[in-house]
Amino acid sequence: MTSAGEAITTPRRTTARVRRWHISEHKLAPLVLVTPALLVIVGLRIVPLILGAQYSLTGDGARNGMFVGLGNYRALAGDPVFRTAIKNVGLLFVALPVAVAVPGILATFLFLKVPGHRFYRSVYFFPVVLSPVIIGAIFNILLSYDGPLNQGLGKLGIGPVDWLGNSHVAIFSVIGVHIWATFGMALVIFMAGFSTLDQSLLDAARCDGANLPQTIRHVVVPELSRTIQFVFVTTMIGMLTGMFGLVYVMTAGGPGGATYLPEFYVWVTQGQMNSPALASAASMVLFVLMLVVGLAQIRLIKRVTKEV
């Protein structure tokens, strides 16, 4: 026989248990749904990342597998080639506005439906489908010392430039070719952004007497802020991780290591120098760099494109 007090408390406990399970059910369902994706991400992304981070703390050669702490990172800091690679990342920053402005401006022209815009759209996108190796090979010919560009310059009375063999020029040549080869994708993204523009805002701006620059500044840019953010971040990441093919084919990192980028450094260190742990450390630096750059850009662009 139970007391009155027990009779009251027992149902309360049951209710609480049911409620707890009820909450768990809601929490569990999405987890179950995302499990396959989660497993793929953990297995193919997070685990290799952790392995890479761990491996970067071990030694190479005779010290293979030994814990060396931050030794590899100290070696990177003291390596002038890696410092050049990081310095070149700075150059990529400088080139970034150009890499975004070129497709942005061209997309604006296409949006304004300049004559032949359909043809231009295809032509601008065309290099995106070409392999970097093919593009590199084409530009190797165009930019060679006795190539068509220098011959053209010669006819204008300008002396030949060693576009890929001059240590002060080569990195700009490679970056220029990269921008040429990849701006088509950013252009498509901009075009997609333009298609979401609120026409009524443009009409309102026109009615209010806004000229083109004012319309762009106060309507187009704020409206496209998310697109611009996206293009900035993806273009930067593309520059940091997608230039290997071009560097490999066009300059092989030279002359004198002047065109090294972190990604190329990782490849040379692992493949040519047989130092995978040092290469892992370099790739961890590249990972952190991309993370910081991506987050900083999102923050910065958000502030810049926010209409006051």
Partner: protein, 437 residues
């Protein structure tokens, strides 16, 4: 509608599965975190797998080496019927990257092809020592030093590598020079280069996009600069980067470029194959070429025919040198990877790959000067090939292959910076001395 109580066991199962999966992934990461790259044998295998040998190289896909590989394979299969041999040709520019990945994973081919020198020495810890298994090859083959690390042999030489000076007799003739008298001293070389330049050709074809032009220059010219004692000391690891002789070679590297000996834009011209294509196309008087698997007498003979000539390094430093020689050593060779399940079978396959009949095919069809000194080379009627073979007994190993991969990489970059004027010879030698400690 089901109640909470009826769904509970299923939810528990799902939750348990989810937690197990995540825990498994975490455990995998954690367990792997403690593991370094495998150092010894990896993985198990069945008996059938043990009867298969996989060989990595960068040649078995070439038509010119087909006869060589066919001969080696048939020889091995006759001795070991039932054992399957797979030759896997990898692209050369990716070869050591792929092999490096295999080494880190502890899995890969049973046998791998190597360049002699730094490329093999850097990976010696992944190879089986072969001294006690290859005694029967020692006398027949030459070039072993390039495949030794700390006195232990890790690979068997198949071809020799060396840097003779090839020249185009037609270009010499056009410049008013005697095509049968190549330069023997620096003064003669300078005179010849001035005449060739005046005739509208470049004196030397050079491509230094990869920075390896300096390797050819250093090892190619050194026999005419270093005294025999200095040369031997360098090979023994006693290298004086500040010596007048080393400085002389690096000064010459820069000076010859400044004097216009080479085609324009050397830092953006690839050595393989632009430099050698230019020479084959008659667009240069001289080139420092190879005797191993590419850019050698046979490939030049195809285009230049009787206009092809060859000579040894000129004497640049008469105070040290009275007679020069061909710098040559083991070129490419095969080593047995540590993880192979059948080391004895692998060694036997290498012996077939180094067999006289197979090597003869490599020499005659592909043009590589073989490491087998018993091969009759008189069957080839290209004069340059005969001259090269006749110089081999006096040859000494190459200077640059004695350096580590790290120092070589630095030297590649410095060679480009010297040409572009971004570094002085003294500063370059200081950096090299620091790297080569």
């Amino acid at each position: 509608m089901s109640t909470a109580s009826t769904r509970t066991p299923k939810r528990r199962w799902v939750a348990a599965a989810l937690v197990s999966a995540l825990a498994g992934a975490t455990c995998l990461a954690t367990a792997a975190c403690g593991a370094a790259a495998p150092q010894s044998q990896a993985g198990g295998g069945t008996a059938e797998q043990a009867q298969k040998l996989v060989v990595w190289d960068w040649h078995s896909g070439d038509a010119s080496t087909k006869a060589y590989y066919d001969k080696a394979k048939s020889d091995f299969e006759a001795k070991h019927p039932g054992v399957q041999v797979d030759f896997v040709a990898q692209p050369y520019d990716q070869y050591y990257t792929l092999l490096g990945t295999a080494i880190q994973a502890g899995k890969g081919p049973d046998i791998a092809m190597f360049n002699g020198g730094a490329q093999m020495r850097e990976r010696a810890t992944s190879l089986l020592p072969l001294d006690d298994k290859t005694a029967d090859l020692k006398d027949r083959l030459v070039g072993w030093d390039a495949f030794k690390d700390a006195g232990t042999t890790y690979a068997v030489p198949i071809t020799l590598q060396g840097f003779p000076f090839y020249y185009n007799k037609a270009v010499y003739k056009k410049a008013g020079l005697d095509p049968e008298t190549p330069p023997k001293t620096l003064a003669e070389l300078q005179t010849d280069c001035a005449a060739i330049k005046k005739s509208g050709n470049v004196c030397f074809n050079l491509g230094n996009k990869e920075g390896i032009g300096i390797e050819f220059f250093l090892s190619g010219f050194a026999p005419g600069v270093f005294s025999p004692a200095q040369y031997d000391a360098w090979l023994a690891g006693k290298r004086d980067w500040k010596s007048p002789e080393v400085k002389q070679i690096f000064d010459l590297w820069k000076q010859t470029n400044d004097d216009g000996w080479y085609n324009k834009g050397v830092n953006s011209t690839a050595m393989f194959n632009d430099q050698f294509t230019m020479f084959s196309g008659g667009k240069g008087g001289n080139v420092i070429g190879l005797i191993s698997d590419t850019a050698h007498w046979k490939s030049f003979d195809e285009f230049l025919g009787p206009d092809l000539g060859v000579y040894q390094a000129p004497i640049l430093n008469p105070a040290n040198v009275s007679k020069t020689f061909l710098p040559a050593e083991g070129g490419i060779g095969y080593g047995v990877m540590k993880w192979t399940k059948s080391p004895d079978l692998a060694v036997d396959l290498i012996k077939s790959l180094a067999g006289t009949d197979a090597e003869k095919q490599f020499f005659e069809k592909a043009g590589a000067i073989a490491a087998d000194k018993t091969i009759d080379t008189s069957t080839v009627d290209v004069k340059a090939a005969g001259q090269i073979v006749s110089w081999l007994p006096d040859s000494k190993p190459l200077l640059h292959t004695a350096l580590s991969a790290k120092t070589l990489d630095l030297m590649h970059r410095l060679s480009q910076q010297l040409i572009s004027g971004d570094v002085t010879v003294d500063a370059a030698l200081t950096q090299l001395a620091a790297s080569d400690k």
